[in-house]
Assembly symmetry: C2
Homo-oligomer: 568 residues x 2
Amino acid sequence: MSEELRRRIDQGAGNEPADLVLKGGRLFDLITGVIIESDIAICGDTIVGTCGTYSGTREIDVSGKTVVPGFIDTHLHIESSLVTPYEFDRCVLPRGVTTAICDPHEIANVTGAAGIRYFLDCAENTLMDVRVQLSSCVPATSFETSGAVLEIDDLLPFKEHPKVIGLAEFMNYPGVLAKDPACLAKIAAFSTDPIDGHAPQVRGYDLNGYLAAGIRTDHEATTADEALEKLKKGMHILVREGSVSKDLEALMPIITERNSPFIALCTDDRNPLDIGEWGHLDHMIRTAIAAGADPLAIYRAASISGARIFGLRDRGLVAPGWRADVVVLDELESCSVNTVICGGVLVAETAFAGRKIVPPVGRDSVKAPVVHADQLMSPAYNGDIPVIGIIPGKIITDHLRMDLPVKAGLPQVDLDQDVIKTAVIERHGKTGNIGVGFVKGFGIKHGAIASTVGHDSHNICVVGATEEDMAVAANRLRDIEGGFVVVDGGEVLAEISLPVAGLMSLEPYEAVHERLLKLREAAESLGTVLEEPFLQVAFLPLPVIPHLKITDHGMFDVDLFELVRSAD
Amino acid sequence: MSEELRRRIDQGAGNEPADLVLKGGRLFDLITGVIIESDIAICGDTIVGTCGTYSGTREIDVSGKTVVPGFIDTHLHIESSLVTPYEFDRCVLPRGVTTAICDPHEIANVTGAAGIRYFLDCAENTLMDVRVQLSSCVPATSFETSGAVLEIDDLLPFKEHPKVIGLAEFMNYPGVLAKDPACLAKIAAFSTDPIDGHAPQVRGYDLNGYLAAGIRTDHEATTADEALEKLKKGMHILVREGSVSKDLEALMPIITERNSPFIALCTDDRNPLDIGEWGHLDHMIRTAIAAGADPLAIYRAASISGARIFGLRDRGLVAPGWRADVVVLDELESCSVNTVICGGVLVAETAFAGRKIVPPVGRDSVKAPVVHADQLMSPAYNGDIPVIGIIPGKIITDHLRMDLPVKAGLPQVDLDQDVIKTAVIERHGKTGNIGVGFVKGFGIKHGAIASTVGHDSHNICVVGATEEDMAVAANRLRDIEGGFVVVDGGEVLAEISLPVAGLMSLEPYEAVHERLLKLREAAESLGTVLEEPFLQVAFLPLPVIPHLKITDHGMFDVDLFELVRSAD
């Protein structure tokens, strides 16, 4: 270390050539907000010189370009990119995301601690600095069957791992407010570490109670009013632009220079289609600026603010002594990434090729029974039938009560009202539970869509116009180690295999992208009107997001935090 | 902890009365900058409710008053208050300073690790949260004789102490730039902790080299231009208003809302006269606002920004889940402190009376030889004589070269030019060295002033119009275990005893204040024109502040970082 310090001091002071110099560019200084004509000198993994002229052993001409700090995704589930952490690294780092604070909650729900260990092992080998928050709520509630249950004693062995940053999103906010002993034990054990929050529409005194427990961040605010209340109460807002949950537009009013020290950016769940077609945090930045955000505010939120909020003291500015996470932009406003340096390494395919690959866990994870159409009948209800109302681009749903046709005493699909059937089939080899209900808003007129990605327990989720196609789709997932499948008239129209825990592909992200395009086309052929039908399917079960959801136990009223009672 | 969490959640959610409620006041929210009518609910040491109405087991009416977070002094030497940490606590906490990040550098230079241990023991018993940065440069240079030398192995045992925050001001910036192995070993060992800086007038490539070592903060910027360069290079600025070094006015241009996340406040060295007459950080805040600072910027700098810069994640906002460090102001603009809550405790004399008192270390520390007037002759120089030019209110000095009268080949005092003599007498029982030189700017026409406070080695420092009075003053310090003394015509006019390491009194701060008023009066009777003659004396030796200083080795050229050569 002393020898490295010696090199840094000498290179910073200009006594010897720097290891790497970005020559002739313009530095956007996120402290004072000014643009500075400056070389950037880098020694090893550390920036050692700015605001001056440097010569380097290696030099890159960045004249006419603008330099900003590497971006930090402050909350995401890498699993939602449908590729392994290695492919995520290869896909997203070239877009400027040099740090990703991930919650391996999805794989943990399927494989338990083994999944967290796999992510930590990957994190030690990616070019990008992947950090891991320990999944705090596996499963999120007791109203679903997950592949694993993580209690405090399962998490403590990871607490001091150098890649770990405290506890991930504490989704079980009703458990916190109810002072559930298992929840409090986790919070108590991590009370001096960052504990990420998850408090959709939690307001007023409930919010105060949740915050009083020491939870400090939230990515579930979906309106500016909600975000402002949270900010005023000291809760840092992670503005999210996922593939389903897109909150950037609604939260634009809070992205101001004044608030910027207390807001950061995240993607939460973003799929390869969106990453490939629109981008990642780079997309958020250019979208925000195009919509009128102050560049200083949004670039701060993308770097230094996120770093400070999560205690990453070494990064977030392009300045001497800071970690060499640097993004070179063709243009500041459009956030068009030209070159990325991560920890001093020039990001390029050769660098990715040099990574040590850790074999994945969670193979052969789909242990669901073979399902028959007659197992997919909805129970009867007294009065109107509970129907999940899809809100396009949101994971929040409406809790509808509708009058549906009835056959043999049981409620039925009603295509005229755009109401189709949905089911969740337990697939971890535990109970074989099947929960059945209704959903409005997909636009599907025939066929079915099924997925082993179903937040957060990742049972098989299926929606369809007929029970027969739903059964075919669900059963096909058993054959391909999980994934997505589109079925019509008993035939598979398109599919992707996700053999890593039923969540992630073993293919390169480009191939996954291609398959998803075919799946999207197939889903459209069923009549779906949603941009991201697979993600909307995947979030139907999530029982910690208001208002009506479905698990393998049945329809779940999130506001009452209890299962909807059917007519016995 | 779980039981405490349960109470916090219930009290925050309003399910049960809070332990303490500040009723009916107005909260200045430092995130959004708005004023919010709100009760403040506190459970134990934690704020649990804002933006609402609460009832409490204990309630305090704060209607018409404004609530802000407790202030954080991000860099100070408690020793400069001339009282023990307990009396500092009693004196400064009621002014709203709920956290003090101190560097026990002065007592460490006299007593070594025992002094650091004493401060840590005190810190565990004060009401205020005293944090300790480990003194990095004891002594600051090898050109002086200190009472102790602290190497990396002396510091490491304290590294994990819960009150310790990394390394204190790295004063030996020439050592860093010269890659001195002992300096680099300390920086390497603390590379993941905050390492405070000290880089007066270090600019350009030298500054880059210093920052490249990982040093992140600085309180030595004395002009806005210097501070701006440092900010642009990612160095956080701790705006200082001490008793000698008063930088607030010069740094006003950088105290903006934009910069506010990256600036904090500190006092460095502030004496009881100034604290008693003007205040502490409260004085800085009202002075800044009166001079036009944005209240949001200065209150942020006084709290949340300092907390973030030093990694104190639990404090800096008045919001649920944050540490209950709360200042109730009669008025925001004048920062008139009405009531202080520190860690949930209402600050009052009864609370101070309940503290456990740790006995001080460093008694009988003045081990200087008896000095005779003829030992206080200046050496001869070739050419003009080096004279320290005092700049009132600054610890930086001018390096003057003057033509002085000569007697028996030796340069003499010249009252017409306002040049008197100064000497530093080693007092740690080691060498008995005496360094002698000249100083211009005190205004003293007769008599002498002596002190055992002499940064940073705290040898005896004396200035005077005659060698005889200088000797009397220096020798008197041996009798009173150190302190300050004013002598005229061989008689002691006023004095204060500082028996704790020759730096701190055992009396209450009020008594110290009274004695200092008498000392000030006595010093004025000698003709001094300086507001703080004892502090200006105390900083004459500090050999890491430009440009000309004096140590027990002799006159020291800080720019060349070498002793001034006398003739032969």
